[in-house]
């Protein structure tokens, strides 16, 4: 792989030619639209704090705007929608393991908080 991918005799590398054939060329319009929406979503998440929403409404809106922004960045700016599924799954599925970790640590920290409160109330 090392030799024949590099030298083509045309002054261009193999990847340059491959990239030309499957390059990520998309209309500028789609970037501008995504950019605009990222601005709107950021403004919305700032407004959550500015207005001072509290409780479940606040948390659900924060998560919603966060996931929408993350999705737009990964899908369009990082070109994930135009990649093959083999790469998409290899990159996007492993982070789901973090959610399991979140659940484990949430249970653990609940327990820690409980034992701390018990020991403070009972004077250790």
């Amino acid at each position: 792989m090392a030799t024949h991918t590099e030298q083509t005799g045309h002054g261009y590398s193999q990847t340059a030619i491959a990239a030309h054939a499957e390059s990520q060329q998309h209309p500028i319009r789609i970037y501008l639209i995504v950019w605009f929406w990222l601005f709107v979503l950021s403004a919305c998440s700032y407004l959550i704090d500015y207005i001072g929403l509290q409780g479940m409404l606040r948390w659900s809106l924060i998560i919603t705007f966060m996931l929408l922004k993350a999705g737009l960045i990964v899908a369009v700016f990082m070109h994930m929608v135009w990649e093959r599924l083999a790469l998409v799954y290899a990159i996007l599925l492993p982070p789901l393991a973090v959610l399991v970790f979140v659940i484990i640590m949430a249970i653990e920290s609940d327990y820690t908080a409980l034992t701390r409160m018990m020991s403070f109330v009972n004077g250790g």
Binding site: F77, I91, D110
Partner: protein, 240 residues
């Protein structure tokens, strides 16, 4: 890379789509990522590992915040700025968010113009991205200075749970470091585009691989990732 020929002009093999395509790509006994070069695939795998690093930081933050019995400092007040006679909550963080999103936009445009072989526009957009990134780091330095003078330390602060300082400096510091390195590499890539190294396919000083305009896209992947991480930090650390 067995299916790529020496000159690269051979007719392209048709690839299957959907789940069958996933199985076929992974079991092909060749490169699994048919549409991505090794450089792009390695950047994605690096970003995946970086995702786990930042996930662990945010998880540690969640753990200490959920388990502490002292009240957590109100980020809305801690990061408020006194402008024009009024305290505007979280305003610096909001500006930083907009600056970073703008830089992501200019980066995406730079990638686009790089593939169109428009060198001037690419260099200008890369420099704009680097400038916005540097502005972000500058504002972060200002924010750190402000909090340190107000008495925030990794082991305590005037408003409540001492873990606030530890997680704040760790998470924003690690992110700021990523932005700083991103700015340095943006300047290097911009310089290479400006000199036309990607047109001539000159070898890189570090990898000795031939350069091409895909490097701008790979640089873009890193930069968008930095913006992506900030989306999560903004949501979980500043807004929660």
């Amino acid at each position: 890379m067995a299916e790529t020929t020496l000159n690269g002009f051979e007719a392209k093999e048709a690839h299957q789509n959907g789940l069958r395509g996933v199985a076929a790509d992974w079991s092909s006994d060749q490169r699994a990522f048919k549409s991505a070069s090794w450089g792009k695939a390695m950047m994605w795998i690096f970003l995946l590992s970086d995702t786990f690093v930042f996930s662990c930081f945010l998880l540690a933050y969640m753990t200490v915040r959920m388990s502490t019995v002292e009240p957590w400092p109100n980020a809305s007040e801690v990061f408020a700025l006194h402008i024009a006679g009024a305290d505007i909550p979280l305003i610096l963080i909001a500006i930083m968010t907009f600056v970073l999103i703008s830089s992501s936009g200019t980066m995406a445009m730079a990638v686009n113009f790089a593939y169109r072989r428009n060198r001037n526009a690419t260099v200008a957009l890369l420099l704009a991205t680097a400038l916005l990134g540097a502005a972000f780091v500058g504002m972060q330095a200002f924010e750190w200075t402000k909090l340190i003078t107000e008495g925030v330390r990794p082991w305590g602060n005037p408003w409540g749970a001492p873990q606030f300082g530890a997680t704040f400096f760790m998470i924003t510091g690690f992110h700021g470091t990523h932005v700083t390195f991103g700015v340095i590499f943006l300047l290097i890539v911009a310089f290479k585009v400006w000199r036309g190294e990607y047109d001539r396919g000159e070898r890189g000083f570090f990898t000795t691989r031939r350069g091409d305009y895909e490097h701008v896209e790979i640089m873009g992947l890193y930069w968008h990732f930095v913006d992506l991480v900030w989306v999560f930090i903004f949501a979980f650390f500043y807004l929660w």
